[in-house]
């Protein structure tokens, strides 16, 4: 593919209760095959998508949270989490799953994919994109 664009997936909704988060992840997985410059952002209730220790057994729903950890293998390595959204929900980065990728340029060293960003910084990241898909 000649063109490489910056794709941002904006995740704003809680992981379970509606299907937005799961179907967003399906787009990310398919999109990975197109070798674009991909970023994910988590804000509003979307920050709950990355919570550690999710258990959907009682709700009878699919627990797809582990899939986020595999995204590094698909070259999806930029997870921007909005600091204010976490704080407004009484969360810190310690409540989130550790998500890493292997850096092939540094002997496959494990590096964190999650980056905490402020609201203004996230606005600048959004403005810098070619394609923003909001879910």
């Amino acid at each position: 593919m000649a063109q490489k664009k910056k794709f941002l997936y904006l995740n704003r909704k809680a992981p379970h209760g509606t299907i937005y988060a799961l179907e967003s992840l399906e787009v990310v997985l398919i999109g990975a095959a197109f070798e674009q410059d991909v970023s994910l952002a988590f804000l509003d209730d979307g920050v709950f998508q990355l919570m550690a220790g999710q258990d959907t057994t009682a709700a009878g729903m699919k627990n797809f949270s582990r899939t986020f950890k595999a995204l590094g293998d698909y070259d999806v390595r930029k997870f921007y989490v909005e600091r204010e959204s976490l704080a407004e929900r009484g969360l810190t980065v310690e409540d989130l799953m550790p998500i890493t990728y292997e850096d092939e340029n540094e002997d496959y060293a494990e590096k964190p994919s999650i980056h905490l960003v402020g609201r203004a910084e996230l606005a600048a990241i959004i403005a810098d994109q070619d394609v923003v898909l909001s879910f």
Partner: protein, 130 residues
């Protein structure tokens, strides 16, 4: 300008499909090109020919089908989202052993790659959703 349109909500419950329809129609009237209209999430429900809204209300599926036919639009319904919600074409109905299909005229069923491709090819991708 070449625009790609994404419709993420079904008809009537949300305004997204109405707004997307009017936006697409206005863009075409202004001379812009529409790379593709992609229906995702509950947006796939815009593509069932079995909707029968009251006669004094708009029929969004029909409006989309007519706009699609008039301008030769590529209107794609996501296959995975469609199957979850019971939107099938004849081939998919046969493949899954279902006794009916319901895809409306002018819509076609395809994969999410079509959404990414539209994002790559269009000058702007415009998302209509909740």
């Amino acid at each position: 300008m070449q625009l790609a349109i994404v419709v993420n909500e079904g008809p009537y419950t949300h305004q997204a499909s109405d707004t997307a329809y009017h936006f697409t129609k206005a863009a075409l009237e202004k001379g812009h090109g529409i790379t593709r209209v992609f229906f995702y999430h509950d947006g796939v429900n815009n593509g069932t020919r079995l909707t029968v809204p009251p006669q004094d209300d708009r029929n969004l599926q029909k409006l989309w089908s007519e706009l699609g036919e008039k301008h030769g639009l590529d209107m794609v319904v996501c296959i995975a989202a469609a199957q979850r919600r019971g939107i099938l074409d004849a081939d998919e109905a046969r493949r899954h052993g279902k006794d009916a299909s319901n895809i409306a005229a002018g819509f076609r069923i395809s994969g999410l790659g079509q959404l990414i491709e539209a994002g790559i090819e269009a000058d702007r991708l415009v998302v209509f959703g909740d």
